[in-house]
């Protein structure tokens, strides 16, 4: 499917990413150019080829022991909040 302003708009919505209308034309052009370049993969025969989602060289990693460890960063983590209410992160109206 060709990339057009509607596709960019839909994908932006899926990405929770506001795209400025003034950017749309440029994005359509750039994404179309990249997608047209990656089309070359369609020419390869990949039937029967297993996908590589992760390269795992070497041994299987040992599982770590399942035990509780202290992590005293609660206050420092909360201090990074753009908006907070006591020990809670505050966000704008949800519904």
């Amino acid at each position: 499917m060709p990339i057009d302003a509607k596709v960019v708009h839909d994908v932006a919505a899926l990405s929770r990413l506001q795209v400025d209308p003034s950017e749309e034309a440029r994005l359509v052009k750039e994404l179309a150019s990249i997608l047209s370049y990656v089309e070359q993969l369609q020419a390869l025969d990949v039937s029967g080829i297993e996908p590589t989602s992760q390269v795992g060289s070497g041994s299987k990693p040992p599982l770590r022991e399942d035990r509780v460890k202290p992590s005293d960063v609660r206050d420092e983590a909360l201090a990074q909040a753009p908006d907070r209410d006591g020990d809670y992160f505050r966000v704008p109206r949800v519904v």
């Binding site: 990405s15 994404l31 150019s33 080829i49 297993e50 996908p51 590589t52 795992g56 060289s57 966000v91």
Partner: protein
């Protein structure tokens, strides 16, 4: 202390601190003074704090005075790419969305360096979230190449590579997803190692594309590269991909020469469009290594030419998922809006720069219903073919020799409006990333216009030592250790 001191190797600096010939404090002050003269001009750092650096150095001096046994990196200044978390020290990844963020913890590699007694010079500039090949995608400012201030230092670890090249620090850490340590190392005339996938824990490295990301050392000598690698490699239970096989490289192994080693050149990948001076350098280095006893042969990587297409589906797909965490709720920038859904979209739309937004959209598209099989799944299958190419080539050869980049450093602004042209610059670095094998860029001379040329060695998993040994053999007879760019401020003074 003379300025020539800043060009000493990390090895020599560490030795002098351990033997109490110099204090870590004196070393730190020398480098801080150097940076005061060069860092603003090169724009290498996003964050520097003189007092913090000096405090780290005096802590090292105190440990030495107490008789603590420290490592060869004791008192050695190290620059950190700004996507490595440093406790209570700003970590922005070159992004506005993390402006002012203070991580509550240290990355694994940062912990290791602290224990080793290294002293941090600051956080270096990079392309936003490590997405780029020129450091022009930093949301703050572009970094300049110390060899030519009108050119890019490469990216995304451009600040780290430029800082080491300019003598602001003898060592730096970068991260490499598709070439982000090796390409800037090549552009700045220094060494840059992308270790085997799994050799270094990424705990505390801000994630970009998790099946590809590795942290790697940048240095001015092969031995210094090994020294820094030795401190950061090995198993860490907080990164399930990290492996115990990743062992320290004994420095004496680097001096063993290349006699009997088989070096393969992938002539089928090194096709048209490669700068003739880089090709000439490749031939020169191959001949010199052959003289030293290496056997030079041709190897074939028939699917490597599909690497860029494969990478630009896999990496954005993973990035679109990894970057979902930047939602304006818990940390970083938040846009002011009336409701939650708008807050997410506006925060991310304004907080992320152009390239990051482009990749999130591309990755979301490649993963979306109806396109997953045609794009993402197919790319993962081609990745298998590329891996097999390397497995086969590396049964015939002990290492593969090829350029790091097709061209010398390009001009600032030259490729910024053509994303695809920027991506294609990574054609020689991306294949090893997809295969998960180790790769080292080493300085291999200068062009007639006095710009650095980098060549690359790619090896079998966990055989970093072989790559460093080959580069060391070339370096021991050809490198001019004192070779450092003359910066404008020095000319003026």
């Amino acid at each position: 202390m003379s300025d020539a001191f800043v060009l000493e190797s990390a090895e020599a600096i560490g030795r002098s601190v351990l033997s109490r010939e110099r204090s870590a404090g004196d070393v730190a002050r020398t480098f801080l003074d150097r940076m005061d003269r060069t860092a603003e001009q090169l724009r290498t750092y996003l964050h520097r704090d003189r007092e913090q650096t000096l405090a780290m150095a005096s802590a090292v001096d105190a440990r030495i005075a107490r008789g603590e046994r420290l490592t060869p990196l004791a008192g050695v200044p190290v620059a950190l790419k700004d996507n490595l978390c440093t406790r209570c020290v700003p970590t922005t990844c070159g992004s506005k969305i993390l402006e002012g963020y203070l991580p509550p913890y240290d990355a694994h590699v940062v912990e290791r360096l602290r224990e080793a007694g290294a002293v941090f010079t600051g956080k270096t500039n990079c392309d936003e979230f490590a997405m780029g090949s020129s450091t022009e995608n930093s949301a703050y400012f572009p970094t300049k190449n110390p060899w030519d201030l009108e050119r890019v230092p490469g990216g995304s670890s451009g600040g780290s590579a430029a800082s080491v090249a300019a003598g602001e620090a003898p060592l730096a850490l970068g991260s490499d997803t598709g070439g982000s340590v090796r390409q800037p190392a090549a552009f700045c005339g220094v060494f840059g190692l992308k270790p085997t996938y799994g050799a270094v824990s990424r705990y505390g490295l801000v994630a970009f594309a998790s099946s590809l990301d590795q942290i790697g050392p940048i240095a001015r000598t092969a031995r210094d590269t090994a020294l820094l690698y030795n401190v950061i490699c090995g198993r860490d239970e907080r990164d399930m991909t990290s492996r115990a096989e990743a062992a320290a490289v004994p420095l004496e192994d680097l001096e063993r020469g290349v006699s009997g080693l088989r070096l393969g050149i992938p002539r089928d990948l090194i096709g048209e469009g490669v700068d003739p001076e880089i090709l000439a350098s490749l031939d020169r280095v191959a001949k010199a290594l052959a003289k030293k006893g290496a056997e030079i042969l041709d190897v074939s990587l028939p699917h490597a030419r599909y690497s860029i297409a494969t990478y630009y589906l896999i990496a954005p797909a993973e990035a679109s998922s990894n970057l979902a965490r930047y939602d304006g709720v818990r940390y970083g920038f938040r846009a002011k809006t009336d409701d939650l859904q708008a807050m997410y979209a506006v925060t991310r739309g304004r907080g992320f720069g152009r390239e990051v937004r482009r990749r999130i959209l591309l990755g979301t598209y490649a993963l979306s219903a109806g396109y997953y099989d045609a794009y993402y799944l197919r790319a993962m299958k081609v990745r298998t073919l590329i891996r097999r190419d390397f497995e086969q080539a590396l049964t015939r050869a002990d290492a593969i020799l090829l350029p790091t980049t097709p061209t010398p450093p390009f001009k600032i602004g030259e490729k910024v409006d053509d994303p695809l042209a920027m991506y294609l610059n990574d054609i020689f670095s991306v294949p090893a990333s997809l295969a998960g094998v180790p790769a080292l860029s080493f300085p291999a001379g200068m062009t007639k216009a006095n710009l650095p040329i980098g060549l690359q060695l790619v090896g079998r998993p966990f055989e970093e030592a072989t790559l460093l040994r080959v580069a060391r053999t070339w370096e021991s007879e050809n490198a001019d250790a004192a070779r450092v760019p003359r910066l404008l401020s020095e000319r003026r003074s």
